[in-house]
């Protein structure tokens, strides 16, 4: 058991030892030419696309904000109506206005 643990620890140290043997390598030849070609091709367009991206994010944020506001406005209106209706119902219930009394019955209903 201990031997296996030691073996594993040795392998860990050997693997970490690779870090001391890494040689510096550069990109493939003609890197500068490819880089300049990319700068020439995508220079102003890339800057513009960055600005467009930022504007896009702002627009998305605005749309989400408006949608949330609209939804909460719609919901609050619904709740206000429900509140009003329920308060009228409670009033009717409290004063027994829904139950027809003898005074509310028309003359025709008596005969």
């Amino acid at each position: 058991m201990k031997k296996r643990k030691d073996d594993i620890l040795n392998r860990v140290e050997e693997t970490l030892g690779v870090l001391d043997r890494i040689e510096k390598v550069g990109p493939r030849p003609f890197f500068y030419t490819r880089l300049m070609a990319r700068i020439a091709n995508a220079g102003p367009a890339a800057v513009r696309s960055k600005a467009v991206k930022k504007l896009g994010y702002a627009l998305y944020a605005l749309i989400i904000l408006l949608a949330v506001n609209g939804y909460s406005l719609y919901k609050s209106e619904q709740w206000r109506q429900m509140d009003q209706e329920s308060s009228v119902e409670t009033f009717i219930e409290n004063y027994h206005l829904g139950i027809p009394t003898v005074y509310a019955i028309g003359e025709n209903d008596l005969y």
């Binding site: 860990v12 693997t15 970490l16 870090l19 510096k24 390598v25 550069g26 493939r28 500068y32 700068i39």
Partner: protein, 191 residues
């Protein structure tokens, strides 16, 4: 071509000199490529990151306030661009996974078989395992570890690159080593 002194190089770069820019690229391409390679673990993608770094340097040169050295500034851009690249790749991967659920065929190729061009053949297998483990470290620990152990930067230089204190770099590298040892131990235990 005789190398320019750093301050002269910076002033010429700020004036838009192309020969100064070429000089800068020649001076730093290996360093930037090496950082990119340690993060993205793919030669073509590392070159892509390398190009992005120099494009950023080219664009932002006029805003470079010389509060840090040119090399610190370039290393900072290289680390940020590498991490950005990895995040973008992760998003693309997730998107491809979702798209594949709906039958779309835009899958992103994942290349797990990484061969570091700076390693000898006999070290390739260990190198692959090591960089796989490094990729699992948290971003700050990964950056500090790569800058110190692969790039050979001092703790103070790393503190400047990461805009942090010397003690926090020490702690980041200490924790990175601990985590790496644990990750590698678990890997060898299970394989």
């Amino acid at each position: 071509m005789k190398e320019l002194q750093e301050d002269k190089l910076v002033s010429e770069l700020k004036m838009g000199s192309e020969s100064a820019f070429r000089d800068l690229v020649e001076r730093y391409e290996k360093k930037v490529f090496s950082v990119g390679l340690s993060f993205v673990r793919n030669v073509e993608e590392a070159e892509d990151v390398c190009q992005e770094v120099f494009i950023e340097v080219f664009r932002a040169m006029r805003q470079f306030r010389e509060e840090s050295s040119l090399s610190t500034w370039i290393y900072r851009i290289a680390v940020n661009k590498s991490l950005e690249f990895i995040r973008r790749k992760k998003v693309k991967k997730r998107f491809a996974m979702i798209a594949s659920l709906f039958g779309s065929d835009n899958s992103v190729m994942d290349i797990p078989d990484f061969k570091h061009p700076g390693l000898a053949l006999e070290d390739q297998e260990k190198g692959k395992i090591l960089f796989e483990a490094i990729a699992k470290l948290p971003e700050k620990q990964r950056a500090a570890f790569v800058l110190h152990h692969v790039e050979g930067l001092s703790y103070q230089e790393i503190a400047d690159v990461q805009k942090t204190t010397l003690s926090s770099v020490e702690s980041l590298i200490f924790r990175a080593k601990q985590n790496l040892r644990k990750l590698l131990y678990d890997f060898y235990k299970n394989n």
